[in-house]
């Protein structure tokens, strides 16, 4: 199970007019692997994920999900997929329960009720089953999106900033949930600026800059490679060296003096 290639990307390129958002990106993610997609703002992480989810068509290149070509056989590919955006995207007029019923029909999940109840319980939404999204906090909306996404037991999961809006307990549960699903054989890609999260749960790292792959490989490989060149290197240090021109940290802020302030 651990050796099956679940996501295979070859020469992925996305152009917006003349602007190259993603440039000739190739990589694979196998079952049980968690790939951390990192890079500075505008590096092309979200665009890459949106191409991999079939939301936007790539300009060039191919994406295979569990062996199905996303462009040629989108239905088979999408049945295996779940994509969790950083911003929860829900239908304002459907209740929590109706969202689950709707998703079950879309993905043809027979006998979804026990699973839905379990997910509601896991994400502490049981008491909110009749609530509309407008009545939920941002974190709860995020949990509902995740519950809907997990209802069809996807084997390929993408997260775009998965911890946004979650409370500490939610963050802990989310991390556990990601790791458990990876252990169960799912392939995952996580795009995040939280390098400690990436370091904690990802098995592989892909650093992007200006749409191009700068570094890719397992966390150990990358750390070892950088350590050989620059001494002991944390993921943060690797990120800065890989993505900034100088690698120099930002200058310190000017000192603040209470005495300088004009009284109100």
């Amino acid at each position: 199970m651990g050796r099956i290639t679940m996501i295979h990307v070859e020469g992925l390129t996305k152009l917006f007019g003349d602007f190259v958002a993603v440039n000739d990106l190739s990589f694979s993610v196998r079952a049980g692997e968690v790939l951390g997609l990192v890079g500075p703002n505008g590096a092309g992480k979200t665009t890459t994920l949106r191409c991999l989810a079939g939301i936007i068509p790539p300009t060039r290149g191919t994406v295979h999900i569990c062996g199905s070509d996303l462009a040629r056989d989108p239905i088979a590919a999408k049945r295996q997929l779940a994509f969790f955006n950083d911003e929860p995207r829900l239908f304002d007029y459907l209740t929590v329960e109706q969202h689950l019923a709707f998703t079950a029909r879309i993905y043809q999940v027979e006998h979804y009720r026990p699973l839905a109840d379990q997910l509601l319980l896991e994400f502490e939404l049981t008491e909110k089953r009749n609530a509309l999204p407008g009545e939920l906090s941002r974190g709860m909306k995020q949990k509902l999106v995740i519950a809907c996404g997990l209802l069809h037991s996807p084997t390929v999961i993408y997260f775009d900033e998965p911890l946004t809006g979650l409370d500490p307990l939610g963050i802990r549960r989310m991390k556990d949930s990601i790791l458990n699903r990876a252990r169960a054989g799912a392939a995952m890609i996580i795009s995040s600026h939280l390098l400690h999260l990436v370091q904690e749960i990802c098995t592989h790292i892909l650093i992007l800059k200006n749409g191009r792959k700068v570094i890719g490989g397992t966390l150990e490989e990358i750390t070892r490679k950088f350590s050989e060149l620059h001494g002991d290197a944390s993921l943060e240090e690797i990120f800065f060296r890989a993505t900034s021109e100088s690698g120099a940290p930002a200058p310190p802020p000017p000192p603040v003096s209470i005495e300088d302030q004009e009284p109100l």
């Binding site: 917006f16 949106r50 936007i56 459907l94 019923a101 029909r105 043809q108 609530a131």
Partner: protein
């Protein structure tokens, strides 16, 4: 922060917000879709409004007839009185100056006094009032009068009302702070109005000549009587301040305008003093209001008008969604829930019961035949309107879901399945309403023409029932195709494209839709006409016999066209590049 510095900062914000908005409006004219829209909108506005600005005529143009001058002033004052009264009667919230979330974030924590915030709000409202005045002046200019006095008159009316609303909201908050509940306040205002109305009525009965039939014999007599009532006794004093506010707008010449200007300005200044001297804590309610406003703007910006309305509780689905079956049904089910109150069994059953009750009640009347003929004609007109306007009103389809197109694109569904699922709900809602109308129309027609002529109304009803859903489907496919082909043109919502260019875009779209619909009707019309004439002329059958087969033929052609349309739109949806169209 010192007051002048603060005011200049707020003016800076106001000026640059306006300037940047204007620049971006002009800059987007580089895009052909906005340029074409601007040209079309410009032509429309010129022919509807602006050409009246350049027409020859006296400086004051055509004024009101002297006979009606006073009456119009009195009625205008009465309208203002009612508006002010409602401002004291209806609202129940605490005073909340509506700021955007960004303004709350920047201004509320800043060292800015409450009074300065009120001034900022007043400045903002002046910008809104300016554009309202511009529009109203152009509109009223069509019927003559001096544009400048009209503009200043409108400004006085709107500014005074705006200040009054603000002042009354402050007063309401102060009353609430002193333990006087909304119910108590409303009761007091209601009793005040009741006492006033009673006073005016008693006075009118005692002093005015009794109202008799001659006072209501024609429009002039009614106007004279109303003028007598409103221009004497307590009504005279009660409406006097409101008349002062309305008078500059209605002034017939320069002298009258200048005479009216002073008192109206004085009332405006008194309102201003009232508002800026009120020291009411509005911040907490304003923060809440700004969040609601932000949510509504986000919903509107996303084209989701359901979201603009505050949804309080979930709607019960019309039917239970089975887990297996075509996935398109899930979208149909979802959009019916979105339609909410418009499509619940309870409402439809209530309509049917009401209509049957009316029908039964009228049926016993011996003079009801003409009435039923009239009602049948009315239903025919309504059906025509439902085809024209219905698809614009019932929008639970891709027009609603376009902002969530990324979610839809992730579903394991073919494009045609998504499109079919999306348009089914509005088709069902429109067809349901139309079928009801057809059934009642047929019943009315049968009653009016007698049962002996039964076959023709029944043939018409059968044909309509067959054709209407197909026509609805085709009509709904056109705007949904426009959404996928020109999403930037369709963007709905308050924050969508506005201005002359947006008006022009809408005009072009409506004309385009009508043209496409006419073209799609041609094959069906040709085939059904051929079938009809073959049966009628060649076989010598009656119209009632020839009509249903012709309708069936037309329905088949329309169904084929609709099917092809769904497939085509499905392909468009699959190729729809969200990144290029919605997030450039």
């Amino acid at each position: 922060m010192r007051a002048p510095g603060m005011i200049s900062a707020l003016l800076y914000l106001q000026y640059h917000s306006f300037r940047n908005r204007l620049i971006s409006r002009v800059a987007r004219l580089k895009q052909p879709k906005y340029l074409v829209g601007a040209i079309a909108g410009g032509i429309y506005f010129y022919f509807y409004f602006f050409r009246y600005l350049f027409r020859r005529g006296g400086v004051w143009g055509q004024g009101l007839s002297p006979r009606y001058e006073l009456l119009v002033e009195l009625l205008g004052a009465l309208v203002l009185f009612v508006i002010v009264l409602l401002a004291w009667l209806i609202p129940h919230e605490r005073a909340a100056l509506t700021f955007t979330e960004a303004e709350v974030a920047f201004l509320f924590p800043a060292p800015i006094s409450r009074r300065a915030l009120i001034h900022f709000k007043l400045m903002r409202s002046q910008v809104r009032i300016f554009f309202t005045i511009l529009f109203l002046t152009l509109l009223t200019r069509r019927s003559g009068g001096n544009a400048w006095t009209h503009a200043i008159g409108w400004w006085l009316i709107f500014s005074t009302l705006s200040l009054h609303f603000l002042g009354s909201s402050f007063a309401r908050t102060m009353l609430l702070d002193r333990g006087i509940s909304n119910r108590m306040r409303r009761l007091m205002v209601f009793l005040f109005v009741l006492a006033l109305a009673g006073f005016v009525t008693v006075w009118a009965k005692r002093t005015l000549p009794k109202l008799n039939a001659s006072d209501l014999s024609d429009l002039n007599s009614i106007a004279d009587y109303a003028q007598r009532v409103l221009n004497s006794g307590p009504a005279l004093y009660l409406l006097y301040p409101f008349r002062l506010v309305a008078r500059p707008y209605l002034a017939g010449d320069a002298g009258a305008f200048l005479n009216a200007l002073g008192p109206a300005l004085l009332i405006l200044l008194l309102h201003y003093a009232w508002v800026v001297r009120s020291n009411v804590a509005f911040e907490e309610a304003s923060v809440e209001a700004s969040q609601k406003l932000a949510a509504k703007l986000a919903a509107a910006r996303a084209g989701n008008w359901q979201g603009v309305k505050t949804l309080r509780k979930g709607k019960r689905p019309l039917f239970k969604l089975a887990v297996t079956g075509p996935p398109a049904t899930a979208l149909f089910w979802k959009n019916l829930i979105s339609a909410g109150q418009a499509f619940t069994f309870r409402i439809w059953v209530t309509i049917v019961i009401l209509a049957v009750a009316i029908y039964a009640g009228l049926g016993t009347n011996s003079h009801s035949r003409d009435l039923f003929s009239g009602l049948a004609i009315l239903i025919g007109i309504l059906l025509g309107w439902s085809l024209l306007i219905g698809p614009q009103i019932v929008r639970q389809d891709l027009r609603q879901d376009l902002p969530l197109a990324d979610v839809l694109k992730m579903y394991p569904m073919r494009g045609w399945q998504v499109v079919l699922g999306e348009v089914l709900a509005p088709v069902a809602i429109l067809a349901g309403a139309q079928w009801l109308l057809v059934l009642f129309g047929a019943a009315f027609l049968l009653h009016a023409r007698g049962m002996s002529e039964g076959p023709l109304p029944l043939a018409i009803a059968f044909s309509a029932i067959l054709l209407l859903p197909m026509l609805d489907l085709l009509l709904l496919l056109i705007p949904n195709a426009a959404v996928l082909l020109f999403p930037a043109w369709i963007q709905a919502g308050r924050e969508g494209p506005r201005g002359i260019e947006a008006t022009g875009q809408r005009l072009i779209l409506v004309l385009g839709q009508l043209l496409v619909f006419a073209v799609t009707l041609l094959p069906a019309a040709a085939v059904s006409a051929a079938v009809f004439f073959v049966i009628k002329l060649a076989l010598g059958a009656a119209i009632a016999v020839a009509l249903p087969p012709a309708a069936v033929a037309a329905a088949v052609i329309l169904a084929v066209e609709a099917g092809l349309g769904v497939m085509l739109l499905g392909r468009l949806f699959e190729r729809f590049d969200l990144s290029a169209e919605l997030n450039p």
